[in-house]
């Protein structure tokens, strides 16, 4: 190895990456890595590291953090439309938590989230398993099946509003052909929530499928071979190899979807508008309606806080589970 001039303080890594044919002159001009970094740090000053974050943090503060704090302040105010009349302490909270409508809405939210989640997880898992064992056809269809996930909620809602239209839609027509009475479909208070849950599951199961497939494909093939050598069949393989391996991934997917369902309102606005008779009014839809109608925004702030707190709590669990905190 050709010997070139090295400053005494050069570290090993520096020597290794030094070009072999370096002349004395250039070697002297190039500061060592540590020198360069130290010079940059001196130039910038320690606090300048924060400057890299300033634009992002500024936007997030204005759009997200400040309104998050402000909504609490708003919830303590007596309001008339968008006018603040004065401080009233916890009166808004007492009014909201004391009303039956709030608990009905909470129950609808819970049913909607749990129902959609169950549907999407089961169908999504089934799709992942089936497509995974369908060879090249499976990989091709996987792309097509993911497609509705990219559609907007207004589009998904409009399409299903048409398909479920009691007079002209193809689905009530098929129900009639089968000799049953389709009734009012989305206009039926007993049926509206179930139908919106089914549509939500239809839209979101492809996401579960993609996440489950990604997790499945990371399982080493040797594990399946080991089961085969021991004479295990498909059920054993699924129970003892596939499921334990994809469980963490499924868990975080379920939490992501829960957050999404809890705040998903465009689909409801398009399909039912929260009706009939409040059968599909969720907490988030109530927060939206309170904002738009603006009769009295104090109680709306309380409902918003409930949505906020639940979401952040689920988000915190998600962060724990995926281990991002340690990053």
């Amino acid at each position: 190895m050709e010997i070139s001039y090295q400053p005494v303080e050069d570290n090993k890594r520096n020597k290794m990456s030094e070009p072999k044919s370096q002349t004395l002159e250039t070697a002297l001009n190039i500061a060592s890595l540590d020198d360069a970094k130290a010079a940059e740090a001196r130039r910038n000053g320690f606090f300048r590291y924060y400057l890299w974050f300033v634009p992002a943090i500024l936007i997030l503060f204005l759009v997200t953090l400040y309104p998050s704090i402000f909504v609490f302040w708003l919830s303590f105010q007596k309001t008339r439309y968008y006018e603040l009349v004065g401080f009233i302490g916890l009166a808004n909270f007492i009014e909201v938590f004391g009303s039956k409508a709030f608990w009905d809405t909470t129950f609808v939210s819970l049913t909607y989230v749990v129902g959609s989640l169950a549907g999407a997880m089961v169908i999504g898992m089934a799709a992942a398993l089936v497509l995974n064992s369908a060879g090249i056809t499976g990989s091709f269809l996987r792309v097509l099946i993911l497609f509705p996930w990219t559609l907007s909620m207004s589009v998904v809602g409009s399409i299903w509003l048409w398909l479920l239209n009691p007079s002209f839609g193809p689905i009530p027509y098929l129900i009639k052909l089968a000799g049953m009475d389709p009734g009012l479909m989305l206009g039926d208070p007993d049926l509206a929530l179930t139908l919106t849950i089914l549509v939500t599951a239809w839209w979101s199961f492809p996401y579960v499928m993609v996440m489950a497939t990604a997790a499945m494909q990371s399982i080493p093939n040797e594990l399946y071979e080991a089961v085969e050598i021991d004479g295990g069949g498909a059920v054993i393989k699924f129970k003892y190899v596939t499921l334990p391996h994809i469980l963490p991934s499924l868990g975080s997917t379920a939490l992501t979807l829960s957050i999404m369902y809890l705040t998903l309102i465009t689909l409801l606005i398009v399909m039912t508008g929260g009706g009939p008779l409040g059968a599909t009014t969720t907490l988030s839809l109530e927060a939206f309606r309170g904002t738009v109608q603006a009769v009295n925004i104090g109680p709306t702030a309380v409902v918003s806080i409930v949505v906020l707190v639940i979401n952040v709590a689920i988000g915190a669990v998600y962060t724990r589970l995926t281990g991002r905190v340690t990053g």
């Binding site: 890595l33 970094k37 759009v63 309104p67 799709a127 497509l131 907007s152 299903w160 309102i265």
Partner: protein, 282 residues
């Protein structure tokens, strides 16, 4: 190895293929039906019994969508908001993500956790306070404000993804450029950015889909007719559905989804990697 084991390895794929086709039908059936309806006349769309294939294919619904008074403006707003929001999120997200990956300093963890925490605050919970504040300072119906709000929704994931992508680049590459006298901004522009291009494409794809599909933000903070997007125009038609024309509406649905459909066709790979990257332990 026995014959039984090897036959178990290449199982009969036919049942799985048949089931896969059933899933594809469930998913694509409704979309195909919407497409078919959009090609029918208003009268044929509501004919009983309904048929999938239009007897007479007509493009009059699409013509009606394209020649609608506010269509061009709605389309322009949709493009401006989503492209603007994604561009803004990259401009502020790339420096933050790079710094998070490459510098170590006090308070970095708190900073990154704050950014992560903002991604958990749902937009729908901030409708009331944000509306109140925007109203107070007279910033309702502002296209720029809507763009910034949409950008804020995707900034957290942009920062975290970029940080992960940069971390995956061996630091030795940057170190050697550093020694050759390159400045930090040169390193980022000529070395780091080209290397993380696929990652940026994935984040941008997800960002465009998210912002293009938004209804709530625009509908609440910019309800003005001149500020609305295609999504808002679509929902408004559903809401004032007196004498609704289903074939026209399905044409609108297809047109409003067209950019996403085209993008999905071209960058489907990035889309999937963008989705799954979020689940990868960072």
């Amino acid at each position: 190895m026995s014959a039984a084991v090897s036959s178990g390895r290449t199982p009969n794929r036919l049942p799985a293929i048949a089931m896969s086709l059933v899933f594809a039908f469930i998913v694509l059936g409704p979309v195909v039906w919407a497409l078919a309806t959009s090609l029918k006349s208003e009268v044929e769309a509501v004919a009983i019994p309904p048929t999938l294939i239009p007897k007479v294919v007509t493009f009059q619904n699409y013509l009606k969508v394209f020649t609608d008074q506010s269509f061009v403006l709605d389309l322009w707003n949709s493009i401006a908001y989503s492209v603007g929001a994604v561009a803004l999120s990259l401009v502020v997200g790339i420096p933050a993500g790079y710094a998070a990956a490459r510098f170590s300093f006090n308070g970095k963890r708190v900073l990154m956790l704050t950014i992560l925490a903002t991604s958990m605050v749902p937009g729908v919970a901030l409708l009331v306070p944000t509306y109140y504040l925007l109203d107070a300072v007279g910033l309702l119906n502002s296209g720029i404000v809507v763009t910034v709000i949409l950008a804020a929704r995707i900034i957290p994931q942009t920062v975290w993804f970029i940080a992960n992508f940069v971390e995956a680049i061996p630091i030795e590459i940057e170190d050697s450029a550093f020694m050759d006298g390159a400045s930090r901004s040169q390193i980022i522009r000529y070395l780091v950015l080209p290397l993380i291009k696929p990652g940026i494409a994935a984040v941008a794809t997800i960002g465009i889909v998210t912002t293009w599909n938004d209804y709530i933000t625009v509908a609440v903070f910019a309800p003005d007719l001149a500020k609305r997007t295609l999504q808002v125009a679509l929902v408004n038609q559903v809401l004032d559905s007196v004498g609704i024309s289903w074939s026209y509406m399905m044409a609108f649905v297809i047109v409003a989804s067209m950019p996403i459909i085209i993008m999905f066709g071209f960058v489907q790979k990035w889309f999937v990697s963008g989705l799954t990257a979020g689940a990868v332990k960072g």
